[in-house]
């Protein structure tokens, strides 16, 4: 859509709309199209990607940088370390990462085998970890990921003790940001023979994973569940707990009490392969608002930096990474950004995106299994389009870029380790972001809810 010289609107179809026609802010074109779709199909919309609405996020924060009162570090000469160790609380074999950016849990099933392999290759190249997902561990991803985190989800698809023992860490998934309180979904056309066998399900069914764990309810049971997982793995590997950002202050305290080595906190912008749109857009809180709650909770328990905090949900750039770390996270995880780096939404597939009713830059039908880029599909012909070696290299490049950007900002703030970034290095552009991130509004010392009004 563009505006013409006369003030009218040019639609995507090229047709011009007179300036006298006024679009409703309440019933805009997206809303109207959705009502029409609902009336036609009688079913909620299911899609992939993360929230599309704008919410307060890292763009609403700025770094202050060094000046007279504090000095910066030289870009090429002075060290700015990026390594992070996760699982120092109980595990005898904690995980050492070279960069504070990890690949979030994304299932084989939602993603093609080649996509999983590419994620493993890219992450391993730069010394970071990948994560399995709702569907079990594939031999390919174990082989190509030097450090692989194994998710224990409510569905327990593919769960088995051999893979637990083969994993470098366990992530107990309580929820994810795109759908806190909801279970996984995988629609029939993505349940291939292999996916069906891994999940012990009939082929071709529209599969809805459980949203609650089958054998525990509540934090006291969770503590015992974690004890069992530790016993099975001889207290070797770290155990993470992943939660969607909702009542974060309490969830983090309960996760610590339950015995977590690390907490994965996923904001409401977080990506998904298939979720009801109403869930994606309307449940959970932005990661910006969740990190300070988590850090406050950890600090009160004297567990900040002892139980590591990994945050995700809409992380795109090194600036996002640096800001998340400055707010107190130990590392970040990325999902959608990693898939885009592999080739998702690439303009070279534009003709095909159009054929399936989308466009590069808009494609979110990851549930449908028709991905022209070969990522969110189980069709062998489509999957073959993603070269896992090339995809891995692109991901490694992207991760290196994020790391360099993050280091650049950390050096500008005079920090010799990215973990030395702190809230004091930040200010906010909006009152909302100032209140959520608990940093002062730019040019003032005002933190709404903390000082003044």
């Amino acid at each position: 859509m563009a505006t013409t010289e006369s003030g009218g609107t040019v639609l995507a179809t090229g047709r011009q709309v007179a300036p006298s026609l006024r679009e409703s802010a309440t019933f805009d074109r997206n809303v109207i199209a959705e009502i029409q779709r609902a009336a036609r199909e009688g079913m909620y919309d299911i899609r992939g990607f993360g929230a599309k609405r704008r919410v307060p996020n890292f763009d609403d924060l700025l770094f202050l940088g060094a000046s007279v009162s504090r000095y910066p570090l030289e870009g090429y000469r002075e060290r700015c370390a990026t390594d992070v160790t996760i699982g120092t609380r109980f595990a005898s074999e904690p995980i050492h990462l070279d960069i504070p950016i990890t690949i979030a849990g994304m299932s084989f099933g939602a993603l093609s085998g080649n996509a999983k392999e590419a994620l493993g290759r890219g992450a391993s190249e730069v010394g970071t970890s990948t994560t399995t997902g709702d569907g079990g561990m594939t031999p390919e991803e174990r082989e190509h990921s030097n450090k692989l985190i194994y998710q224990l989800l409510p569905s327990r698809y593919g769960m088995n003790p051999d893979d637990l023992r083969r994993a470098d860490a366990i992530e107990v998934v309580i929820g994810q940001g795109a759908k806190p309180g909801g279970g996984g979904m995988l629609l029939g056309h993505k349940i291939s023979d292999r996916v069906a066998a891994m999940r012990d399900l009939p082929k071709g069914i529209d599969q809805r994973s459980a949203c609650r764990h089958p054998d525990w309810t509540g934090p006291d049971d969770l503590e015992i569940k974690i004890e069992e997982l530790r016993e099975i793995t001889d207290w070797r590997i770290p155990i993470y707990i992943k939660v969607g950002a909702t009542r974060t202050y309490y969830d983090v305290a309960l996760a610590v009490k339950a015995g977590a080595d690390a907490i994965v906190l996923d904001g409401m912008q977080g990506g998904t392969a298939a979720t009801q749109e109403v869930f994606i857009e309307h449940v959970g809180i932005p990661i910006l608002a969740a990190i300070p709650q988590a850090v406050e909770s950890l600090m009160e328990l004297d567990m900040h930096r002892k139980v590591q905090l990994i945050v995700s949900g809409g992380i795109r750039t090194g600036a996002d990474v640096a800001k998340a770390l400055a707010l107190g996270a130990d590392a970040v995880a990325i999902g959608v950004g990693a898939l885009i780096a592999l080739g998702d939404n690439a303009p070279e597939h534009e003709a095909e995106y159009e054929r399936i009713g989308s466009s590069s830059g808009f494609y979110d039908d990851w549930q449908a299994g028709l991905d022209p880029a070969g990522i969110s599909t189980q069709e062998p012909e489509l999957e073959a389009r993603l070269d896992p070696v090339l995809g891995g290299r692109r991901l490694a490049n992207y991760l290196r870029t994020l790391t360099l950007e993050c280091q650049t900002l950390a050096r500008a703030c005079g920090k010799s380790h990215v973990h030395n970034l702190e809230p004091e290095d930040l200010c906010a552009l909006t009152i909302e972001a100032a209140a959520m991130a608990r940093v002062p509004l730019a040019g003032t010392s005002w933190i709404p809810g903390v000082n003044g009004i």
């Binding site: 199909e41 009688g42 079913m43 569905s155 327990r156 769960m159 088995n160 003790p161 051999d162 637990l164 023992r165 629609l187 029939g188 999940r199 012990d200 399900l201 009939p202 071709g204 069914i205 529209d206 459980a210 089958p214 054998d215 525990w216 049971d221 015992i224 569940k225 004890e227 069992e228 016993e231 099975i232 793995t233 001889d234 207290w235």
Partner: protein, 233 residues
């Protein structure tokens, strides 16, 4: 088990003096499989979990949560009652509970046989993925919820919402079923089912006539999204 192993005196762990960690650590030794006796479990959790060798574990007393969790190959016998999630995600082997079991007995189990001598509480066989469960007594509500594969045999009665959102698991119940869950229906007992049930009862050493049982399974109406099902989604 070879004759020499059977003849060897069993290893003994007294959980009033030995830790669960020491017990499990010993049971994780793949080469030392043999008989292991555990006394005074006193309701402790995570006893005999993650075994991957043909151990024969005898536990004299009541155990807490997740006893024999993720078991492979071993036979674990509990002379007492079990807490939540006994034999959860079992892969193979056998777990025999002489008393009753709490909730989620055999949750997500993928192989092997779980036998409960008394009753099993709610959600017995939840998300079952291929194992077989035989309960001599009755089971609580929501048993076999979302069960995918394998069999649940109940010699007594079943509580509310049996087999809710069931996939391909088979349920055999001798007594009353309080109610069936969404998409679970009574099905015809054909010869193959009588045959399967007879084998399961025999394996569990339960003296019962397969002809006295009824079979329940999935109506498969919820397998694909349909607007007419909106009430149950």
């Amino acid at each position: 088990m070879s004759a020499s192993q059977t003849a060897a005196p069993p290893l003994h762990f007294d959980l009033r003096t030995d830790t669960v960690r020491a017990l499990n650590s010993r049971l994780h030794d793949p080469d030392g499989a043999g008989r292991v006796q555990v006394s005074n479990p006193d309701g402790r959790h995570a006893i005999a979990v993650g075994i991957d060798a043909p151990y024969e574990v005898e536990i004299d007393g009541h155990v807490g949560y997740y006893c024999a969790g993720m078991n492979k190959q071993a036979t674990v016998r509990v002379h007492g009652n079990c807490g939540v999630g006994v034999a959860e995600n079992m892969m193979s082997g056998r777990v025999i509970v002489e008393g009753s079991a709490s909730q989620a007995a055999g949750a997500t189990a993928r192989g092997g046989l779980l036998v409960v001598g008394g009753d099993a509480s709610a959600r017995c066989g939840i998300s079952l993925k291929g194992a077989n469960i035989v309960v001599r007594g009755s089971v609580g509500h929501m048993s076999a919820f979302m069960a995918q594969r394998g069999c649940l045999v109940v010699c007594g009665d079943a509580g509310e919402a049996l087999g809710d959102s069931l996939y391909e698991a088979r349920l055999y119940v001798r007594g009353e079923v309080a109610s069936l869950g969404a998409d679970c229906i009574a099905k015809e007992m054909r010869d193959e089912h009588l045959e399967q049930l007879r084998a399961l009862l025999e394996a569990a050493e339960v003296d019962a006539d397969p002809a006295d049982f009824r079979r329940y399974g999935s109506a498969r109406q919820l397998y694909n999204f349909k607007i007419d099902n909106v009430g149950v989604y």
